[in-house]
């Protein structure tokens, strides 16, 4: 006998203010199988859950319907509450009368019938619920970290330190990411490589971390605890075991071309080390600019001078297949292409540069050894204009959001400029200085008071050349007057944007991304480092613009999530998976090609027919591989394949109840 208890939540007043719950209760009480209806102000609270538990015991309920907020919010909470009094957690259904009723139908007269229908439907489904038990699956206690910037490095170190094996995959020839390109970091003016390099070395030397640089994840399949990754090791043309990093090859190599690390401001050889502190501290041969590959085998200087014989032109890409239990994605960000800012003549005038280019100029390991030389004529600039929000907060340019970090690094640039060229004067055109972090406001104050940066509130409208300097036209909105600055160098704080191939990476690894290409977290406030795909975590700017402190904090959080997963020996998988009714299954295999997780196999069964035994083949679902999407249950015309939790019986009952 099905004994259903229905609990209507007020949700403070979120529901009760827009839905006549008394009327809902009244009509629900008339439904078949409903033996108990109760209202409570906050069902999700402890006392709220206690009333449910008490009612289950008191009225011997064997089905529960919670009419409250979305199941995406508290399904797990109420399952646990129901389970705690011995009732199978899957004998509980939720009617969403908040997000999909009271909050969208404010008028009580019209919203109440909707709530009545939704509760009736939930009751109909609950009546068809059957107890479900989770199954357990093993966990491969190895972590894959995608992206070798500070986020990836920190996550890898934390996971390795907890005793688990980590594979860190980095697309560039060295780890270090964006931070390696920075000179100093705010708000403490620590030298970026001084605080980053030790972590890089540590990551390079930690036996539990396997560095795969100049490599990309080709594909990822499987599910939490049992991922299978195919990793492409791009041909480096250098045998890392033999190479000692002595430098003979890149010293002798005659071919030079613009260096990507220095954003084209400096040159590097065809075989090169991106920057001195690179880890691994071994070169990579760029086949696009190497004469051996481009001019069919002419020059082999590097091979000749290499004592340990580490140069290998025949090296091919290699595919590694590895198993992992969890993945941390830390693929970082790019800067917006300021060439699209026609008004600033960017891309046409060499002295209008991006903030990262300025960072390279001011960096000691940069192309100009730290001297801020103007790209046009190499002179030291006296008057430098910094422009904030170039691309950011600009719907016309397609980047409506604030990039969060530019205000602080521009203040840093103003300080570095004054330190390097004491006679210089910096002008910063800003709209709002956003210095909300710890010691950030104080740092901004130093830039103006101690280093004399001239802050002008107003967006620059236009930059045009006059003689060999640049005229920057803006409005000082505090003065209320149009202003001009004649500058020797203009630095644009361009917007932080997602990597150009971020959507492809997201689809390849199997989680979602937003319209700007930033990866979508499971919940912006409650689950910022998780994705909707269990077992895949996020860290750093790939999830949205953020500074180094937040990035490192997220990396630590992601690592904690991984370690928390690995602390278990086996994983409890959702019981709402597909199941075959052997008696009905004809073994036609219509279901098999549908499953993206290859969770359906055929198995031989023997059964008595008349006097003899007969063998035949039926479908079999592997509960640990099945994710419970249900696509196979529709392909099975006879209804032999069913999806537990959303079974044919349950959905059919919902449709019937809904349309009465």
């Amino acid at each position: 006998m099905k004994r259903v208890g229905v609990f209507l939540c007020w949700c403070g007043s979120n529901i009760s203010s827009a839905v006549d719950l008394d009327q809902v209760a009244e009509q629900t009480a008339l439904l078949p199988h409903v033996v108990h209806v109760e209202q409570y102000k906050y069902l999700c609270s402890d006392p709220g859950q206690e009333t449910v538990r008490k009612a289950i015991k008191e009225h011997a309920l064997n089905r529960v319907v919670i009419a409250a907020c979305s199941p995406r919010m508290h399904e797990r909470t109420f399952r646990r509450a129901v389970g705690s009094v011995g009732l199978n957690p899957h004998l509980m259904e939720i009617a969403n009368i908040r997000e999909q009723c009271s909050w969208v139908h404010p008028d009580k007269v019209t919203s109440t019938p909707v709530a009545v229908d939704l509760v009736r439907t939930a009751v109909a489904k609950a009546v068809k619920d059957i107890p479900l038990e989770p199954s357990y699956v093993g966990i491969e206690k190895r972590a894959l970290v995608v992206g070798g910037g500070i986020a990836g490095i920190q996550a890898a170190l934390d996971i390795a330190d907890s005793g688990y094996e980590v594979v860190l995959v980095e697309r560039e020839p060295t780890i270090g990411g964006r931070m390696a390109q920075l000179d100093k970091t705010f708000p403490t003016l620590d030298c970026s490589s001084c605080i980053l390099t030790p972590k890089m070395v540590e990551a390079g030397q930690d036996p539990r971390i396997r560095l795969l640089t100049y490599a990309e994840v080709e594909s990822l399949s499987g599910y939490i605890g049992n991922f299978e990754a195919r990793i492409r090791m791009k041909a480096r043309s250098v045998d890392l075991d033999r190479c000692t990093g002595c430098g003979d090859c890149w010293n002798k190599c005659p071919y030079r071309s613009p260096g990507e690390f220095d954003l084209g401001l400096g040159k590097r050889k065809a075989i090169y080390l991106p920057f001195p502190q690179a880890v691994p501290n071994k070169p990579v041969l760029d086949r696009a600019t190497c004469a051996y590959f481009q001019k069919d085998g002419k020059c082999q200087v590097c091979k000749k001078v290499c004592a340990p014989g580490a140069i290998d032109f025949e090296q091919q890409d290699e595919i590694l297949e590895e198993r992992f239990g969890a993945v941390v994605v830390a693929t970082g960000f790019d800067l917006w292409d300021h060439g699209r800012y026609g008004e600033y003549g960017a891309g046409q005038h060499p002295d209008v540069i991006s903030s990262l280019e300025f960072e390279r100029l001011v960096s000691a390991s940069g192309p100009t050894d730290g001297k801020i030389k103007r790209p046009s004529d190499g002179k030291l600039p006296e008057r430098v204009v910094f422009i904030q929000c170039v691309g950011s907060r600009d719907e016309a340019k397609g980047v409506p959001y604030c990039s969060k970090v530019c205000c602080m690094y521009t203040a840093k640039h103003a300080i570095l400029l004054k330190e390097k060229i004491p006679s210089s004067q910096s002008y910063v055109f800003y709209i709002d200085v956003r210095a909300a972090g710890k010691n950030y406001e104080e740092f901004y104050r130093r830039a103006t008071v101690e280093y004399g940066a001239q802050y002008i509130r107003g967006r620059v409208s236009r930059i045009y050349p006059r003689g060999d300097s640049l005229v920057v036209v803006g409005e000082d909105t505090l003065l209320g007057q149009k202003v001009e600055v004649e500058a020797d160098l203009v630095v644009l704080a361009t917007a932080v944007v997602s990597r150009s191939d971020a959507p492809q990476v997201a689809q390849k690894l199997g989680f979602s991304y937003d319209q700007h290409g930033f990866f979508t977290e499971a919940h912006p406030k409650l689950a910022p480092v998780e994705t909707n795909t269990a077992g895949i975590f996020l860290a750093g700017a790939c999830q949205g613009p953020k500074d180094i402190p937040d990035t490192v904090a997220q990396a630590g959080a992601a690592a904690a999530k991984v370690v928390r997963l690995f602390a278990k020996d086996q994983l409890e998988t959702e019981p709402t998976v597909a199941r075959v009714d052997r008696a009905r299954c004809a073994g036609c295999e219509w279901c098999r090609p549908i499953c993206p997780y290859k969770a359906i196999e055929m198995e031989a069964v023997t059964e008595r027919v008349g006097s003899g035994q007969v063998a035949r083949r039926v479908a079999k679902v592997n509960p640990s591989l099945c994710h419970g999407c249900g696509a196979c249950s529709v392909a099975c015309r006879s209804g032999a394949m069913n999806l537990l939790g959303f079974s044919n019986e349950q959905v059919w009952a919902e449709v019937e109840a809904l349309c009465l």
Partner: protein, 291 residues
């Protein structure tokens, strides 16, 4: 190629010279311009400040008449008329019900005549630079010219939908095709003050001064424009220190095609436009000193 031609009010008066060179160059490029019959004033700078409906109906009527002519679309030499016609076309394209409103107001049925185009847009876009270069008899060798686009031909981009509002290239490319040497300068798209020339001439003098300073600093020997208001302001509101002659792009195209200054109405410009052409050896014997 046959197009409905909207000359605009200044073609009778202060821009009679532009009208002459425009028609001459169109003829040389086998562009058949058929005047919009009984065209009316587009409202230029005054209508849109007085009444939004008036600012749409005045140019709207011309679009409706042009649509009735069944040509390949409507073209106008003047940047102000081009801007107003485009605004009306954009307003009509947004909502078909406005077609009925316009037809009722102006008494001419409207259907889409296609995006109005400026003469420069047609010469560079439809005729094409190869066809222009093919007509060149007298390349403007050594003539350093500052291509001045002004504002109404390019802005706002979602209405004008022509070239790049910040770094336009079309007139520079045309000058190159004519053999001239376009100079790189910063005031290509700065506004000249347009109709303020009559009511607040001193403001226009300041704007024109800045534009011409930047042009001469960039080594230009003359300024080339495609808008009668810009030409009038640059020519009539400049101070003594500026001697740069101001041509219409159709003047230079005509000269390059071998047409005489008289046919192009160049002598009607104020200042000494012929002096520069003579200096560059671009005037044949007979064309000297035509008043």
């Amino acid at each position: 190629m046959k197009l409905a031609y909207y000359p605009g009010c200044s073609s009778h008066g202060s821009a009679a010279d532009y009208d002459r060179s425009a028609r001459a160059v169109a003829g040389a490029l086998a562009l058949e311009l058929v005047d919009v019959p009984e065209w009316n004033c587009c409202g230029a700078s005054s209508a849109h400040g007085a009444d939004h409906r008036l600012a749409m109906y005045l140019p709207g009527r011309n679009l409706a008449v042009a649509a009735g002519m069944g040509m390949g679309g409507v073209v106008t030499p003047c940047a102000a008329c081009y801007s107003r016609l485009n605004r009306a076309h954009h307003w009509l394209a947004e909502d078909r019900r406005r077609w009925l409103e316009l037809s009722a107001a102006v008494g001419v049925p409207y259907n889409d005549v296609g995006k109005p185009r400026s003469l420069l847009e047609v010469v560079v876009g439809d005729v094409g630079l190869e066809a222009v270069a093919a007509q060149v008899r007298r390349p403007l060798k050594g003539l350093k010219a500052a291509a001045y686009y002004g504002c109404l031909m390019l802005k706002p981009p979602e209405v004008a939908r022509f070239d790049d509002p910040e770094n336009p290239r079309s007139m520079d490319d045309l000058l190159q095709a004519l053999g001239a040497q376009p100079v790189r300068w910063g005031f290509k798209t700065e506004c000249c003050g347009a109709s303020l020339s009559v009511s607040r001439p001193e403001l226009v003098e300041k704007l024109v001064g800045d534009i011409l300073d930047n042009a001469s600093a960039a080594g230009a020997e003359c300024v080339v424009t495609a808008c009668p208001m810009c030409q009038a302001n640059l020519e009539q509101r400049r101070s003594e220190r500026h001697r740069l002659p101001v041509f219409y792009f159709t003047d230079l195209a005509g000269i390059a095609f071998g047409l005489s200054p008289r046919e192009l109405g160049i002598p009607m410009h104020l200042g000494e436009p012929l002096e520069l052409l003579r200096g560059k050896g671009l005037l044949a014997a007979g064309e000297e000193g035509q008043g």
